[in-house]
């Protein structure tokens, strides 16, 4: 099945009861780019990630997943998505290796579990321990390994730097930059602008469910540029 090269979000709206989470958001995501999805708490970033990941059904609007000219649907789309959410999406009673082996089996891929765990920096002696014994940072690394394991072409990351120390956050930012150059669509929801500075080339800012700013650049945004864009548009 083909890798995604473009995702088109068209006038997507989502309400939870009377609460408006997204109000007609349109956005286009391209392969080989990293989109920083910014905004204050409650702006609709996580809901938008949920909609793009197919886990939240919008009230109106459409999302089209393009792959080499063809549109992918359902399981073919989900196969291409890697998600790092607020929660780890991992089973507390299973070890890191068992968690990843289960994911690999469900996705039908023969992934090198050890290599992915090396990439995210989860120390070898922790890998055979139940995930419930992990610290917040270790759990975040496992969650990241889970998201990267299947080599997704659409990587959705919700606050990926949470729980990581500064060195870990910067190393992850660097790793995401490398993934982007493979043609992967990377979408990062974060408040840690320093970690994504120099790597993100697409910025989308949400405010109360509306897209209030969208900018692209041929080169990556610096920390100051990101900070300036955020402060001008987020509030």
């Amino acid at each position: 099945m083909g890798r995604l090269d473009r995702v088109q979000i068209d006038k997507v709206a989502k309400r939870y009861g009377t609460e408006r989470a997204l109000a007609g958001v349109s956005l286009e995501l391209h392969g080989g780019t990293m989109c920083a999805l910014l905004g204050h708490n409650g702006a609709g970033k996580t809901t938008l990630l949920g909609v793009v990941s197919t886990l939240v059904r919008p009230n109106s609007g459409t999302i089209t997943y393009h792959s080499a000219g063809a549109d992918l649907r359902d399981e073919a789309v989900r196969r291409e998505i890697g998600l790092l959410a607020h929660a780890s999406l991992c089973y507390a009673e299973l070890t890191a290796i068992e968690n990843l082996e289960f994911v690999a089996a469900l996705y039908g891929v023969a992934a090198d579990v050890t290599k992915v765990l090396d990439q995210v920096g989860l120390e070898p002696r922790a890998r055979d321990r139940a995930a419930r014994t992990y610290s917040r940072g270790m759990l975040q690394r496992l969650a990241l390994a889970r998201a990267l394991l299947t080599r997704p072409s659409l990587l959705l990351l919700d606050e990926p730097f949470t729980g990581l120390d500064r060195g870990g956050a910067l190393a992850l930012g660097e790793h995401l930059g490398a993934i982007k150059t493979d043609g992967t669509i990377v979408v990062v929801v974060t408040h840690d602008l320093e970690a994504i500075a120099g790597r993100t080339d697409h910025v989308a800012i949400l405010r109360r469910g509306k897209l209030v700013c969208e900018e692209r650049s041929d080169s990556s945004y610096t920390y100051d540029q990101l900070k300036d864009l955020y402060h001008r548009n987020a509030s």
Binding site: A87, L89, E93, Y107
Partner: protein, 224 residues
């Protein structure tokens, strides 16, 4: 689809074998119920024959509800239900996998409770073991199927522990009635196998109908 369902069920059972949390709680509670019955009901054979079908199916209902609530709580703890729904497998296999694991747990407890009832109350539950096994098996399957749909739907509800039995039992009522009637036919002084077979057929049809309905509605109920 079935391959993925069995993979998910195996994962659930593997976690359970490791933690033993749900099964031990269910088995302990089931045994406790048998002890309470032994004190609460008259200990003569006529009364036992009349009340043991109800004891058995009430035990299955109560212990099954514990299993349903806790098994789906596990999927809520680290939001792993979302991970399952995101996997490139038919979402129905997620439902089937959870239901299979649940049915195994309920059957496991029945394996504990039935001999305890038979031994402690001297109930003639093993007079027709095949019929009893089929009826309990179908009952466990039906409860697992319907219960999995409701437990998954209530996953994000704040008072799900209270809501689950409230919404589940009215729908499971025909299943418990059929199970009780079937068991009553098997343990009666003059066993009524014809009635038992009728209620077994009823359980089979009930399970099949709700399996189809559950497969139909599951995805729309669990996606936000």
């Amino acid at each position: 689809m079935l391959r993925h369902a069995f993979r998910i069920a195996w994962k659930d059972l593997r976690i359970e074998v490791r933690s033993k949390e749900i099964f031990m709680t269910m088995a302990f509670f089931g045994a406790l119920l048998v002890v309470i019955y032994s004190f609460a009901f008259p200990n003569d054979q006529t009364a036992i024959r009349g009340s043991v079908p109800g004891m058995l199916w009430v035990s299955i209902a109560f212990t099954g509800t514990i299993a349903l609530g806790r098994a789906f709580d596990r999927e809520r703890e680290n939001d792993t239900m979302r991970a399952l729904l995101l996997a490139p497998v038919p979402r129905l296999s997620v439902f089937l996998g959870k239901a299979i694991a649940m049915a195994v747990l309920i059957l496991g407890v029945a394996v504990v409770v039935v001999p305890l009832l038979a031994l402690w109350l001297n109930a003639p539950l093993f007079a027709y073991p095949l019929e009893l096994a089929v009826s309990v098996g179908l009952g466990a399957l039906g409860m697992a199927v319907i219960g999995s749909v409701f437990a998954a739907t209530l996953l994000k509800a704040r008072s799900r522990d209270v809501l689950l039995p409230v919404v589940l039992y009215p729908i499971l009522l025909p299943l418990f009635v059929a199970g009780t009637k079937c068991t009553a036919g098997l343990v009666a002084e003059h066993p009524n196998l014809e009635a038992a077979h009728y209620w077994i057929s009823f359980l089979g049809i009930y399970d099949a109908a709700f399996l189809v309905l559950s497969l139909w509605v599951f995805e729309s109920l669990v996606i936000e």
